[in-house]
């Protein structure tokens, strides 16, 4: 099944396109030092107009410059590393934690399930921004701290949804049947329940990329996370958004980048799920 699954995935052109796009972004992130036309932190005198405003895309700076006269293209390339780690790793961790907890709580039910869900409520009410400020004052800011805070805070949403879905699934007859046939908990969880939850997991794994990249900007603003002048896509948007009416390229290009990465993972994930799903025959 695995071999035929991969073959089907490879044949799905859209999914392949998604993988290619993801690949391009990853390569761009890794090869930024060679690909970027300029130093991402260099503030150019010609980067700003005489009155001090950023310049739109032009032959010298292909995607325009930012509020300090730095080349936007270079900053996007270098920022890919930060944003991909946040969007994929931090979000991925949040989704994994949330799925596990939601799954176990939904399946176990009773007091255990209730307790886990009440813990989830508590974590949802957790003042994350205050935590960010507290951490910023104690630790040297870094990408990994903000990734950790995001993972700590974002898992609750998918946990709730997975929990609800799991409880609905677990109540179905075929689960009872499987148990009657002697299937162990692990088997039920991973073979019978999890595949049906993949669509939901996929939603959070892909849309979540966009949401977490933007969230990282807010947390970095509060002091944890990447330190200026290190670029990140969310950070560029955050510091330029009030200039949207006069310098739209500063929001547009990073926004497109975020959207493309999230979409690409979405297409990839869709194709992957279709390929692995035994009930799926063609379209």
């Amino acid at each position: 099944m695995a071999a035929s699954g991969w073959k089907r995935f490879a044949r799905d052109r859209i999914g392949l396109a998604g993988s290619v796009v993801v690949g391009i972004f990853v390569v761009a992130a890794l090869a930024a030092p060679w690909l970027a036309p300029y130093d991402p932190t260099e503030q150019f005198f010609e980067g700003l107009t005489l009155e001090g405003s950023p310049r739109p895309p032009n032959p010298e700076f292909w995607l325009g410059t930012d509020l300090l006269g730095r080349d936007l293209l270079s900053r996007l390339l270098y920022g890919a590393r930060t944003s991909l780690i946040i969007g994929v790793v931090a979000n991925g961790a949040a989704v994994a934690i949330g799925t596990m907890l939601g799954l176990i709580a939904g399946y176990a039910g009773g007091w255990l399930g209730g307790a886990v869900m009440r813990f989830t409520d508590l974590m949802m009410a957790f003042p994350a921004l205050l935590l960010a400020i507290a951490l910023a004052a104690i630790f040297a800011p870094s990408l990994w701290i903000v990734a950790m805070v995001i993972a700590l805070v974002n898992w609750v949403q998918i946990a709730r949804v997975i929990y609800t879905e799991t409880r609905a699934l677990a109540a179905r007859e075929y689960i009872e049947a499987a148990r009657a046939l002697g299937a162990g908990h692990a088997r039920i969880l991973f073979v019978h329940l999890l595949p049906h939850l993949l669509p939901t997991i996929l939603v959070w794994a892909t849309l979540g990329i966009a949401a977490t990249v933007l969230l990282e900007a807010t947390l970095s603003f509060l002091g944890i996370g990447v330190r200026p002048p290190t670029p990140s896509w969310g950070g560029i948007i955050f510091e330029s958004q009030s200039y949207f009416l006069t310098a739209p390229w500063l929001v547009f290009f990073p926004g497109i980048a975020i959207m493309m990465v999230a979409l690409a993972f979405n297409l990839m994930g869709d194709a992957l799920r279709d390929a692995l799903d035994p009930t799926q025959r063609g379209r």
Binding site: T41, Q43, L50, A136, A137, R227, P228, E239, T246, A247
Partner: protein, 537 residues
């Protein structure tokens, strides 16, 4: 018989800026702000937003001529200063009424200042009255009676100082001394902040928390014909970019937070805004402090090198030329500013040479703190790049305001700190206010605002001497002394002054008034009492 030196005769202020022979009263003005107004208690209000609103609701013994920094009596009809400068006698006007109808007496003045000094009020301004006899006892909680203030009769207030204080008249014009009615304060307690009653030209008509605050003209105001506006409406919670759009739409009259940086260039270049934007100076300086406790900033050569490394013109350009480069601690509008001083020119090579002389030819690593709201991170990054060009590798810590202030107040907390967004705008237009809290030994304490931790005993002594020079005949000599004090400080270079912010006030065509009212150095954003509605004329 002690000779009394009469300093000021009875003056009823004749407004020098007559717009027309008779400016009619009437009309409404709408001002927008992003933040909610915090408190209208004159003893407590200390942010630039409520400062001028409080000035319109309350009055003090002294005030400033509209649009200028010249002191004139307000609640006082006249005053006299003793020859030794330790006794001030104020005669109150007759017939001044609080908004609740009761007439003002000298007891109210004494009560109001005692209230500010009383630790139970938690006033941030208590320290301004430290020169009054009996201050220490009240602050220590031993008594509520400030013995240095006496009221021989209902219209006379006498202040006894423990030492001559050249800034005392400014202190009598500051919000913390404004008159409040005891009975209303006792009725409302801490809620007086939202139920202010004073003697000013406007009284509070309505306050919906988080949405709007409305002031209406006080018909019994002791200045006849003033204020001109019938009502002022403050709408809060407004994003500055949206406020600008609303102003263009005719919905708003004044942008309380100023022209948003994002639209600044567009607005200035728009011919339709001709005459609607007034530019003026502020009593502000933005500077980088260098903590003299933290090596290598304990070496004056390094501090001078930093001064020479910063390209101030470029930074001013980054903020759309909304400031002028600064070369000394005092802003140009401040008396005592040295117009002839050249300061440290931008000279990266010279900076590198100085660093080499200090034994740091390879540069060094350090940390630069800055506040996180725009444009401060940008300015800090520009400074960071300039420092890197001479070999100083500064890591940037862009944090919330409270955190940065706390770091600055630690003895070795912040090696370098960009003051933008936090400090320093003068409390009153006198050079001494630019020294004490931020450059004086008294401010170099835990939690203080002297983030350079600079303490020069000689200069401290000079400053004290300057502030003891009371009297109009000593005024020039005093300013000369202050001038030399700040030049001496620049020689020591605990700061690298970067720029003085200019103010650009934009108003709708509906509001009229002399230009100076829109960039009044004491009233921000505009002088509420003296602007008028064009539609009512």
């Amino acid at each position: 018989m002690r000779k009394l030196l009469v300093v000021a005769a009875a003056l009823i202020v004749a407004l020098p800026l007559t717009v027309s022979a008779q400016t009619k009263q009437g009309g409404e003005m709408i001002v927008t702000y992003k933040d909610d107004v915090s408190t209208l208690d004159p003893a407590i209000g200390y942010d630039w937003q409520n400062w001028s609103i409080i000035k319109s609701i309350f009055s003090g013994l002294m005030d400033y001529e509209p649009g200028s920094t010249v002191l004139v009596p307000d609640l006082a009809e006249s005053f006299q200063i003793s020859e030794d400068g330790m006794t001030y006698t104020f005669t109150l006007r007759e017939g001044v009424k609080f908004h609740n109808g009761r007439e003002l007496t000298s007891a109210d003045i004494k009560y109001s200042i005692e209230r500010t000094v009383n630790p139970a009020t938690q006033s941030p301004g208590a320290g301004f009255f430290a020169s009054i006899v009996g201050f220490d006892q009240v602050v220590a909680g031993e008594t509520t009676d400030l013995l240095g203030i006496s009221t021989p009769d209902e219209r006379t207030v006498v202040f006894q100082l423990s030492a001559p204080n050249a800034t005392f008249l400014h202190v009598m014009a500051i919000n913390f001394s404004f008159a409040v009615p005891r009975e209303v304060v006792e009725e409302y307690g801490a809620d007086f902040a939202t139920h202010p009653v004073g003697t000013g030209g406007f009284r509070l008509a309505e306050w919906t928390l988080g949405q709007r605050l409305v002031l209406e003209r006080n018909p019994d105001y002791f200045e006849p014909g003033l204020p001109y506006l019938d009502r002022i409406v403050f709408e809060v919670g407004q994003e500055p970019t949206v406020a600008l759009l609303r102003l263009k739409n005719g919905e708003v009259d004044i942008l309380g937070d100023g022209i948003p940086p994002a639209q600044f260039e567009e607005v200035m270049n728009d011919p339709a805004n001709e005459g609607l934007i007034v530019e003026g100076g502020q009593l502000h300086t933005g500077y980088v402090t260098m903590n003299v406790n933290v090596p290598p900033f304990d070496n004056v050569l390094v501090r001078r090198a930093v001064n020479m490394a910063i390209d101030k013109d470029r930074i001013v350009r980054i903020i759309n030329n909304r400031a002028v480069p600064a070369n000394q601690p005092l802003p140009p509008l401040m008396p005592g500013y040295d117009t002839g001083y050249a300061g440290y020119a931008y000279d990266p090579e010279g900076a590198k040479a100085l660093l080499a002389e200090a034994g740091l030819a390879d540069g060094f690593d350090t940390v630069l703190y800055a506040m996180n709201t725009d444009p401060n991170p940008r300015i800090a990054q520009a400074i960071q790049q300039d420092l890197a060009a001479v070999g100083i590798r500064a890591e940037l810590q862009s944090l919330a305001q409270a955190t940065v202030i706390a770091a600055g107040g630690e003895p070795e907390g912040a090696p370098m700190l960009w003051s933008g967004g936090m400090a320093w705008i003068a409390d009153f237009p006198d050079p001494s206010n630019f020294y004490g809290p931020i450059l004086g030994c008294g401010g170099a304490v835990q939690g203080g605002w002297n983030w350079a931790w600079y303490c020069n005993e000689e200069i401290d002594a000079s400053a004290a001497a300057a502030d003891a020079m009371v009297g109009a005949d000593l005024a020039d000599a005093r300013l000369d002394l202050w001038r030399s004090i700040f030049i001496a400080i620049m020689d020591d270079a605990p700061w690298a002054p970067v720029f003085n912010e200019q103010r650009f006030t934009m108003h709708s065509p509906n509001i009229g008034g002399d230009d100076s009212l829109f960039v009044d150095p004491v009233h921000i954003p505009v002088n509420y009492d003296h602007v008028y509605a064009v539609s009512a004329q």
